[in-house]
Subunit: 327 residues, 2 copies
């Protein structure tokens, strides 16, 4: 046992990424008002947050503009409209977009970093898409961007598949390899094993390890600090945990844990009160019982999301029986 | 790193205690209907839960019967009225009451175990009350009861005080020493340190270690499984986390984690749907922002409870400023 108290000191290398608009937009088809997005942006700056992920660089062919808001596509004109005068140096905040393998027109829709307000592109992919992910990382790196590699749904693939993905990502210029618990299924022993596997595979590459947790079993914050304890220096959180299904690691709890005096909790609480709690009254997220069940069962939250939009949405026993009979 | 997967096997020694009525009664002055208490009881049996804590053995002088429900006092006539035909052997469920140091008429109000439906009395105390707690444990043991020692608010006292309490509890007949995070302030590294301290102090006594977590920082379940991983064999949970302030470790999430096939999750989900969710619409608990703040600040949840009954209950920034200026 260490006799020190690392939970009251800090590592300056640890950087926080806010993905409220990106992950939260999966609940409302990214139909945020400019005012909402701007409020999150101003809060990130005031709170000392390092990165803000403003949305997806996804294809308008798959996500028509008639149905989805601007932050599903992050077109340069929308980025410039809202963040045209953004200064990463002055604010300490870097802007980020996520590009999904197979869902993104990444060869044509991303301009060089020197022409964009974005500083980083995160590449999200399932294990079987790793070859496209590697191409995407190289492409974005060639355009001058920082990159992160987000292997999704890691709880649902074999260790051999994980190893193969890591071997393929290791030689890329991605700055960070992220442990992504899309299903909210991981317990802390599993986070430990994955952290050791990821660090061992990335050894000598200079890559950081990141964590993106979901809150199906009220473990998003716990798994995030577990990864931090182990050494992860890139952590994702969202305001009030806003995000698909059970949501994410809540920023207000994470910042209350971090001891770097550059972080400030008060602006986040102000944002919750002014913008996020009113939003929560219109769209649903959080560790409700159906999300507990999909998390425990290692299933995509989509099962529970569909159920929560049905006319028997409060019949949790029915949902439990359906899941148990189907799997 | 262990190469095994202990999270998919189980220890038969691990026993679960439901304290929904006892801890939840702190929100509603124990004004439960008989139907509600009976529903929790039936659910505990159906779910394979080992202990149900039905309330406090507290004094009617301090908690007048005009203001508080039967389960604040657990008089024998109420116990017999509701649980008169209880059979611990047949149901696998033992009934428990909690007695607080200084709040309980413990010398006069507890009948011998052979005359009661109760099988265990838990003694709750603050560090400075340890001498009374030791007397209480001996007294209840002499009456034939199993006992547990619950040192409350452990995050708020010095290591020297903890050590002294443990030295005093070690020679008593208490079967379990419980790590009680009353303020919901502990992170996992602190749970680890306390677990090692408690086990080391209890070495050779045959005592089990228990965990009673609060959910201020959405860590109640995480800290509970952390203690389980380390070896704790007595764990507390409540239905939907019902309990004072931020609430407790949610039973539905805990049972989804435990792999002993004797446990059954479905009856718990049925109870939530039929009784606990309707109750939640009338009384409040859960990891709301004011409870995040008291947990992070190592303060008694009472600050946030008072705030949530004020007319500015949704002004979280005001609460944050008050707390930061007061401490």
């Amino acid at each position: 046992m260490p006799e020190k108290a690392p939970w009251i000191t800090y590592r300056p290398e640890l950087k926080v990424l806010d993905c409220t608009i990106r992950d939260g937009g999966l609940i409302n088809n990214h139909l945020f008002t400019d005012e909402q997005v701007k409020a999150v942006y101003e809060t990130c700056i005031a709170a000392g947050i390092d990165y803000m992920e403003v949305g997806y660089k996804n294809s308008a062919r798959l996500f028509p503009k008639s149905d989805f808001g601007a932050w599903r596509h992050c077109d340069e004109e929308d980025l410039n409209r809202l963040f045209g005068d953004h200064d990463a140096e002055k604010t300490g905040l870097k802007l980020v977009a996520m590009a999904d393998a197979e869902k993104s027109d990444w060869k044509t829709k991303v301009v060089p970093r020197s022409e964009s307000v974005l500083d980083m592109i995160r590449v999200a992919f399932y294990a079987h898409q790793v070859s496209e992910a590697v191409e995407m990382i190289h492409h974005f790196n060639d355009l001058g961007y920082e990159t992160m590699a987000n292997l999704m749904a890691v709880s649902n693939i074999t260790e051999t598949e994980i190893d193969t993905v890591l071997e393929n990502i290791a030689p890329t210029p991605a700055g960070t390899m992220v442990i992504v618990d899309s299903f909210g299924h991981l317990y802390r022993e599993q986070v430990d094993r994955l952290y050791k596997k990821y660090t061992s595979a990335m050894e000598g590459t200079g890559k950081e390890i990141g964590i993106h947790a979901h809150n199906n079993m009220q473990l998003a914050f716990a798994n995030t600090i577990e990864a931090i304890i182990l050494g992860a220096n890139r952590v994702d959180a969202t305001m009030m945990g806003m995000g698909r299904g059970a949501g994410n690691c809540p920023m207000e709890i994470l910042l209350g844990f971090l001891r770097n005096p550059k972080f400030s909790l008060r602006p986040v609480i102000q944002l919750l009160q002014d913008h996020i709690i009113p939003l929560r009254e219109k769209v649903e997220w959080g560790p409700l019982v159906p999300y507990n069940i999909t998390g425990q069962s290692n299933l995509h939250p989509q099962h529970a999301i569909k159920f929560r939009s049905s006319d028997h949405k409060d019949d949790f026993v029915k949902f439990y029986d359906e899941i148990k009979s189907e799997i």
